[in-house]
């Protein structure tokens, strides 16, 4: 795609994984991604710890590609507009080509959207490129994009309407149309947009099993701070423990756990860590049991948080994990690991010895072995004909009334004892 800029999301020191990688791995990953065609790197850290962003941002700058520094937007007594603006200033100082406000859960309301963009532009200069990324989940964020644009925001993220809304982004077409008569406009060709829409409208049913059925709005997120996906996780954890009726208690526990942990933004992996601990607190008593990940979060092993952590809970984390709290950059504790990763990858069947393969193994140690042995078969198309994909749920729905009643005649060819019969089963009533 020589005429399209490619952009990726990079989890700072986590790259594409869930753990901190040592700096050499970060540098090599960025170099190879740039070499293979990546143009824009949107770099974020789940805790907004700027120290977790430095190495990757510096690596991107070294390649000459676009380094976008990212602020994870969240709501807490600590997450004030001035606090976010300070982070933006730090990102500009690190040489970022642009700033992204990343609103994972659709929490960015119109008023704060205006103030935040205005604050960043005032502090960092009008020529600082600001991009706003929101999700449509709460139903208010197209309004927030309008306000962000009025405050001087340069780029907003949307998606084609046929893949938009619900937990996704706001529809591109609505944004374009919205601007008419406001003094702002896009240079997007609506005819081409329609073609893109129609194409994805057509292929979307093939990927139904990967898509959520939720296309409405959920404003409870403003109260609980909990993204929808996280709620489903917690629900299934509770059900597994036979405590499906205690969801309300868990929802009330989450803000308390988040406060104890210094108000981390709730985004992968902090959302899962906080959510699971809240479930444990409700089921077994507050911090009677602590996950290793929550202890690490309390002790600074994911980085620092904007808020102060509860010292009592830190004490318990030390007891549970037998580790000491740290205040430095977590990756400073890591020893060089590239040679070991390289040796481990090369030992795998099908690994071609390239740096790309070593990095694939480093990012996805569970998935890489199978990928290496099967990639010669070419790319896999995971799309399914809607009829096949929907057969399973449809069969379930059909079997619900079949507990005692059919609703229309169904014909089968049934073979018994080697003989075929045409059998029609019709409703009895």
């Amino acid at each position: 795609m020589p005429n399209s800029r490619l952009q990726m999301l990079l989890r700072g020191q986590n790259l594409l994984g869930y753990r901190h990688y040592e700096d050499e791995v970060v540098r090599r990953f960025v170099e190879k991604a740039a070499e293979n065609g990546m143009d824009v790197f949107r770099v974020f850290d789940a805790l907004n710890d700027i120290r977790n962003l430095r190495t990757s941002l510096k690596a991107v700058r070294a390649t000459g590609k676009h380094a976008q520094g990212t602020i994870c937007y969240t709501i807490s007594p600590e997450h004030t507009i001035p606090a976010f603006v300070t982070m933006a200033e730090q990102l500009v100082e690190l040489g970022c080509n642009s700033i992204c406000i990343k609103d994972m859960a659709g929490l960015l309301k119109p008023g704060p959207a205006y103030e935040l963009v205005e604050g960043i532009k005032t502090a960092c200069g009008d020529d600082t490129v600001v991009q706003v990324h929101t999700h449509a989940t709460t139903g208010v964020t197209l309004v927030s994009l309008m306000e962000a644009i009025k405050a001087g925001c340069d780029i907003v993220d949307t998606s084609i309407s046929s893949l938009s809304l619900g937990p996704g982004h706001n529809p591109t077409e609505s944004l374009i149309e919205m601007l008419e008569g406001t003094g702002y406009r896009t240079v997007v060709d609506m005819e081409r947009v329609r073609k893109v829409r129609d194409y994805f409208n057509k292929v979307r049913p093939r990927y139904a099993e990967f898509l959520t059925g939720f296309n409405g709005v959920d404003t409870d997120i403003f109260r609980s701070q909990i993204p929808g996906g996280m709620i489903s996780n917690m629900e299934s954890q509770l059900k597994q423990q036979g405590a499906g009726d205690r969801m309300r208690e868990v929802l009330e526990e989450v803000p308390s756990v988040r406060r104890d942990a210094g108000y981390p933004p709730l985004v992968t992996p902090s959302s899962q860590i906080v959510g699971t601990q809240a479930v444990f607190n409700v089921l077994m008593g507050r911090y009677k049991v602590m996950t290793g990940e929550f202890a690490d979060l309390m002790l600074g092993y994911y980085g620092s948080t904007l808020g102060e952590k509860n010292p009592e809970v830190i004490k318990k984390a030390v007891q549970h994990s037998k580790k000491d709290p740290i205040t430095g950059r977590p990756a400073d504790l890591l020893r060089p690991e590239w040679d070991q990763l390289r040796a481990d990858a090369l030992a795998l069947n099908g690994c071609n010895g390239s740096d790309e393969d070593v990095l694939t193994y480093a990012m996805f140690p569970g998935v890489a072995p199978k990928f290496f042995t099967t990639r010669s078969q070419g790319p896999k198309n995971l799309g399914k004909e809607p009829a096949k994909a929907s057969a399973k749920p449809a069969a379930k729905a059909a079997s619900a009334p079949a507990q005692g009643q059919l609703t229309e005649p169904v014909s089968y060819v049934v073979t018994m004892n080697g003989k075929s019969h045409n059998v029609t089963v019709a409703p009895a009533g």
Copy 2:
């Protein structure tokens, strides 16, 4: 409901029907509606012809109830902000207690929303209550509500999230949350809103057969001006004529027919009249065949339009319908009809002789006879258990792959000739 104000939509001289009623019927309807508890009358005319609103607005004023004058919002070269503001001034002169901007198709964009509300407030005075009613269909109208509020709009229409979006309204909860930090706020109790939401979330599946499956956005409406429901109508008309592939031509014909007819807003019944004529034009040649309704529209029998009508097409309407054009108020041509309606109603089995029954017959002559004979059985609950309601589509979905293939084994107990067999039918491939 002594503590809840009831509001109804009244189609001006059409009341709840599709034809113009004589003034006496209009007066009696309004009197009886007020007497039976209606508090707010939102009165509109499909063509925005103020003469079609006078009698009903005057009748509402006479009852002492709230008379809301309505502007149907649409887009055309004639529908400028000053033109809408002039209509608002006329409505205020008629003694309306408030003005409603009714955006049936979600065409009201944020910029025009601001200008229109600001224009009305400037022309009619700041104390003129302005209410904005939009649909969510195009995805931009929550932004429009935000802008309308900034321009001084007093009331906006939303619906509880569990019944919102798609062709419905914007979610109440999103509007409430949106306002935080903007200097505006509602006095709605979010706890109560949640209860309402949860209730309708629960009962909604029982009414699935009456609900659209469309919950996304459609911005093509801005180009075609055609509401979604109207497109489905035209599609089925085309298919009945074996011309399902000519939809694109019809979509291009609609704006032309609308221009010929003087740019009527597209709302019931003008939307159906214009849409059907566009289908006829594509299938048989432009105005070779003309529906009686379209001829009436061209000749002024529905009222006047803001734009000039195409004189060539008026000529053809005269030829087709053997009627002359009129310029006066259509209802002035009607003779007193109350006594006849009363006599016809009283002749029906089960009619109790009340004015209410006469009005029910006058509004719904097709439905009233059955209603009169069956009402003693009490109100009917049209809700169905989701399993029953979904059984049919589910069975269809399941039978689709069954045309030659099952996707997983299904077990039945089949009884033939008095003998039971356990039969499992498995995929053949």
